[in-house]
Amino acid sequence: MRIKVTYYGQFRDITGLNEEEIEAKVGVTVVELRDQVREKYPRIAEKREILVAINNSFAPLETVVKQDDKVAFFPPVSGG
């Protein structure tokens, strides 16, 4: 299945993208999808922490991602 992922912060600079579709197996978990992104973008893999949100909430690593989920990858936040 194809999952739409969105990047924010420095990850937009690294990927050169705001969003893209990633091919993943049915039943993929957050940690597996994160590993796919790490493999695709070595500069993201170098980061000490990669945060993942699904449908606007932080997602536990074992969460199963569904096709229509809105997935976002981003570095630790730095607002305020």
Binding site: T6, Y8, S57, P75, V77, S78, G79
Partner: protein, 138 residues
């Protein structure tokens, strides 16, 4: 009350919204753009926000402040876009019956914001542009 906006903050108007007749105080926090960061001169700052999620997170923190500390009203404005040194980035105003809970809630709000609200700063210096590294999320 939550605002995520490019425009400057109308602090006086927000203060009037937050004040209630039952409140004995309002504690405010104002975050601004510094002219330096880790020894580097900062000229301008660019702020990016994941607005839909940021709004949800800010609403959660606002509700937690009211539930945990019993404060009366909580307002937050966070700006995004291109800012210059001295510009206001974030404004929090919290009313409460007494100062202790208002100060505690204000500290809680800004600390939580820095951990879990998806907003990122990029500093522009003479040596180039640098994303500000956020604190590790616990």
């Amino acid at each position: 009350m939550i605002w995520i906006q490019r425009e400057e903050v109308d602090k006086a108007a927000i203060l009037e919204i937050v004040k209630t007749l039952a409140s004995g105080c309002v504690v405010e926090f104002l975050g601004t753009v510094r002219d330096n960061s880790e020894g580097k001169q900062v000229a301008t700052m660019s702020i990016q926000v994941f607005e839909e999620m940021a709004r949800k997170q800010l609403e959660d923190i606002r509700r937690e402040c009211i539930d945990k500390f019993g404060v009366h009203e909580v307002a937050i404005v966070h700006r995004y876009g291109d800012l210059v040194v001295g510009d206001e980035i974030v404004y929090i105003a919290i009313s409460a019956g007494h100062r202790k809970e208002a100060f505690t809630a204000c500290q809680y709000f800004i600390d939580e914001l820095k951990q879990r609200v998806p907003i990122w700063k990029k500093e522009v210096t003479p040596d180039g542009e640098f994303w500000v590294e956020g604190e590790k999320r616990e």
